[in-house]
């Protein structure tokens, strides 16, 4: 029997729980023959705005790239600026940064798993995930006054010291999270429907994944041991005992399991960081010779200049964000504003592998595979 090809548009208004994106699918009956990604519906011109703002003014915009895990975005940009300007960071600030980034990684993964399950039609997990997220956001709010868009990490350190009673509350949250994680796994891991939807769906081999430039849990789900925290250790990660979680299968289920394992590893990292949190300054002032702020409640609290001019030059700095490798390329011409800011965002690169993953599958499988690579459209379109 002769059949016609059908062009099917999915989107751009929320094809799933991930944002504004359009898939143009060429269908042969139920089978996807070709998938074309049409993006740019959330292009906000962030990189151009980077050239119009001073180095400190741009930090809030990095919050809004990957808005589920804003803290690693802050850090990636600030790390690039610090490398550009040669700013040293006190040890306590580094510990606080890593602590808060790992907390944000857990939040990102539980939201990711929750929305994946909701796309598959199970509403329980997103309710549970957002319950833990809400309590974690209360911690963030206590720390820097914001729930999602933090603007907390600054060149030379962090903005505020830990508030009183933060560490005990974080410990309590971690203890709670460990219990909840058991619940998650009991709910999802051995669920037969979940297995049928996820196993051997959206498979991508290790070599293909590398060719497509996948990073983060999506790459580690294909068995490639590639974690920026191990390969190019930054901050205090060399002192911390943890492992990069990998799975060999390369299918949607493997990527999901990697995320669950990463939550456990992040809890492990958090525990170590809290136990060895040093005392001291939270903002460096050695380089610029700035005296502590007069009349400040704490003698360790200092400020960092709002406007500074790094030397002319360029820098590319990358970190392991929850979604993959996040890099900032900054060119400075010796003025108060960057000459160029280029963002290598993990979601954008990971998204390009979708057409390869879903070829020959059905539409519900596209949603499942799309859920497991965990993109955020603010990060894709920038």
């Amino acid at each position: 029997m002769e059949t016609d090809e059908l062009i099917l548009n999915m989107g751009p208004v929320h094809p799933s729980t991930h944002g504004v994106l359009r898939f143009r699918l060429r269908m042969d009956g139920e089978i996807i023959k070709n998938c074309e990604i049409v993006m740019g519906y959330l292009h906000r011109g962030t990189e151009k705005l980077g050239e119009m703002k001073t180095y400190l003014q741009f930090i809030p915009y990095t919050d809004r790239l990957d808005y589920i895990s804003a803290m690693p975005n802050n850090y990636a940009y600030v790390k690039a600026v610090e490398e550009l300007a040669g700013i040293e960071v006190p040890q306590r600030a580094e510990y606080i940064r890593v602590m808060i980034m790992e907390l944000n990684r857990i939040v990102n993964h539980i939201v990711s798993i929750g929305s994946l399950l909701m796309d598959l039609g199970a509403a329980t997990m997103i309710m549970w995930g957002f319950r833990e997220r809400e309590t974690a956001l209360q911690l963030f709010e206590q720390l820097c006054g914001a729930r999602m868009t933090f603007n907390y990490i600054k060149p030379g350190g962090v903005r505020e010291d830990l508030p009183e009673g933060f560490i005990p509350k974080l410990r309590e949250w971690m203890k709670d999270m460990e219990k909840r994680l058991v619940d998650y796994e009991q709910l999802i891991n051995d669920n037969e429907i979940f297995h049928m939807r996820m196993k051997d769906i959206g498979t991508i081999s290790a070599q293909e994944a590398i060719n497509y430039g996948l990073t983060g849990p999506s790459l580690r789900g294909s068995g490639v041991d590639y974690d920026m925290r191990k390969i190019e250790p930054y901050s205090i990660y060399p002192d911390i005992d943890f492992k990069a979680c990998t799975r060999p299968e390369g299918d949607s289920y493997a990527r999901y399991i990697v995320r669950i394992d990463e939550i456990k590893e992040s809890l492990q990292i958090l525990r170590q960081v809290i136990d060895s949190m040093p005392e001291g300054k939270i903002v460096s002032n050695a380089k610029y010779g700035i005296a502590p702020m007069t009349g400040s409640p704490s003698s360790v609290m200092t400020y960092f200049p709002r406007i500074f001019t790094p030397h002319a030059g360029e820098v590319y700095s990358r970190i392991e964000a929850p979604k993959g490798e996040l890099g900032f390329y900054i060119v400075s011409d010796g003025t108060t504003k960057p000459y160029r800011v280029k963002i290598r965002s993990p979601s954008f690169c990971n998204l390009t592998a979708i057409p390869k993953m879903v070829q020959g599958l059905r539409i519900p499988d596209l949603i499942a595979a799309f859920g497991t690579i965990d993109v955020v459209l603010g990060d894709v379109d920038r």
């Binding site: 519906y41 906000r44 962030t46 809400e134």
Partner: protein
């Protein structure tokens, strides 16, 4: 219509005959009485045919504001807080709004949650036009209200009110879930006073 029934074709409205019972609304029936609905229906039966647009409006408005169904039109960061509002902790179901519809045909409220880029603007407008009347719009966050932090950007619309009418603006970047709920309460207040009767000051 036979004697004792309510005549449905509109006749002259005698506003001096409207009786309203001033009482604090407790249950749904009490609310109906509060709007003067029951007493006026009884009065209409007695006098044979007094149709009051105002009371119909009030019943309609009460029904409309009690179960607003939003369309899932999350665009950017604010959409995550919109999801958080819908989840267990903040629980928008308290306002009869937990059913986020994927189709604009089934929805009567649109949260424009996030940055409206120039590329997305025609789609947002189309989405609004596809919704059935009556419909309301809440512009959530600084971006949807004015362009917000992206006001200087070349690709961002300076406020969604350039393309569609907005009923409630919510400040914040992104607004907290409490702000979402406050916006919903404000919208309910607005809907309460809509309709033909509102023009003649009969709804109060």
């Amino acid at each position: 219509m036979e004697k004792g029934g309510i005549r449905l074709d509109p006749v002259t409205i005698d506003t001096t005959k409207i009786k309203t019972i001033k009482r604090r609304p407790v249950t749904a029936i009490d609310k109906l009485e509060d709007t003067g609905m029951i007493s006026t229906i009884l009065a209409a039966r007695e006098r044979e045919g007094l149709i009051l647009f105002s009371t119909i409006d009030q019943v309609f408005n009460w029904a409309r504001l009690s179960s607003l169904w939003p369309v899932t039109s999350g665009l950017a960061c604010c959409a995550i807080e919109m999801m958080a509002t819908a989840m267990a902790h903040h629980d928008i179901a308290r306002f009869g709004m937990e059913i986020f519809r994927a189709s604009p045909r089934q929805a009567d409220l649109m949260f424009v949650a996030g940055t409206v880029t120039k590329r997305m603007a025609p789609r947002v407008k189309k989405l609004y036009e596809m919704m059935a009347e009556p419909k309301w719009v809440i512009a959530v966050g600084a971006c949807a209200s004015t362009g917000g932090p992206y006001h200087e950007s070349y690709s961002v619309l300076k406020g969604v009110d350039n393309i569609i009418p907005v009923d409630v603006y919510v400040p914040g970047c992104p607004p907290r879930p409490e702000a979402f709920l406050y916006a919903v309460i404000q919208l309910r207040e607005k809907i309460k006073n809509e309709g033909y009767g509102a023009k003649w000051g009969l709804n109060k």
